[in-house]
Amino acid sequence: MTSLTNTIGRDGPAPALSTAGGDVPDYFALLKPRVMVLVIFTALVGMVVSQGHVQPAIGAISLLAIAVGAGASGCLNMWWDADIDAVMTRTATRPIPAGRISSEEALGFGLFLSVASVLVLGLAANLLAAALLAFTIVFYAVVYSMWLKRATAQNIVIGGAAGALPPVIGQAVVSGSVGIESLVLFAIIFIWTPPHFWALALIKADEYARAGIPMMPNVAGPASTRRQIVGYSLLLAPLSLAPVAFGFGGLLYAVIGLVGGLGMVAFSIRVLRNREGEAERRAALGMFGFSILYLFALFSALLAEQSFGLFRPVLG
């Protein structure tokens, strides 16, 4: 049997690759797998710091649903942003701008996974968790991608709420409610996001300008962005110790939070001082890399304390 595919429509020949469909890894790439890993990790920590118990199978299925929901929102983001992805070197090789997957396919894939993930989480855990996941997907795909990203320099500040919600969903899975523990974790990720992204934006400012995205360095200028990076880092350092104050972060967490917070402030001051050439680039990349390590260390400490019996109370 000969397989046939439509290649010529009203608009003339379509790219052969897009009509034939992408390879399996291309569809996986649409889900932004590295973001999914971070979402699984932070949601898991949100689960373990919560008061309550969940059956392991339900917990695992819930984590899978949260990860797929996050992937679906990433897919919808790639569908909407394919035009700007095409003009930035960091994103030009993504499946849609590279012509390996059509926009329509990506939209269908993202919508299906969005609905499926919310449905599964609702059945596995509870309606609150499912509603929070649905809110996260809509917030990231619609509020951030379709509106904020191209409209305001505060795009990643407000949009950062979507990335900060997984621990809240994790707590909702376990306890059926939202408590102070996950709200503190939400606040930490929320305040961590601007200095993390703006460090990258400082060295990619030309690309963002070419794509027409109003990132902070393009709108307020690099000097203001550097000051804001320092400001957010100064806010983040004490905030990261809030889990200790609220009693769910122990000695290990306190040490990592203190050292890491001081590290964030030190790296941000380095960004503030190095304003030109290779030194500027190294300082910004250092800040970007350290911020990832910092967040990972904070959440790893909480996970280790709660899961491996390493918790030693600092207060009382």
Partner: protein, 54 residues
């Protein structure tokens, strides 16, 4: 006005192989989906699954 006639061309062997892999992946994903709902049902209902009026 009638639709203009669409023209088709055969898929290349490389495109066919890609489509086959995609089909297998969809089949596996559907299988996993069914298994997930089975596990979910058993875990949620537990022994109660057998306790129903006949």
């Amino acid at each position: 006005m009638p639709e203009p006639e669409r023209q088709y061309r055969p898929l290349t062997p490389e495109e066919e192989a890609r489509r086959r892999k995609r089909s297998v992946a969809i089949a596996l994903a559907l299988g996993a989906w069914v298994l997930l709902f089975f596990v979910l049902t058993i875990v949620k209902l537990g022994p109660q699954i057998l306790s129903r009026p006949l």
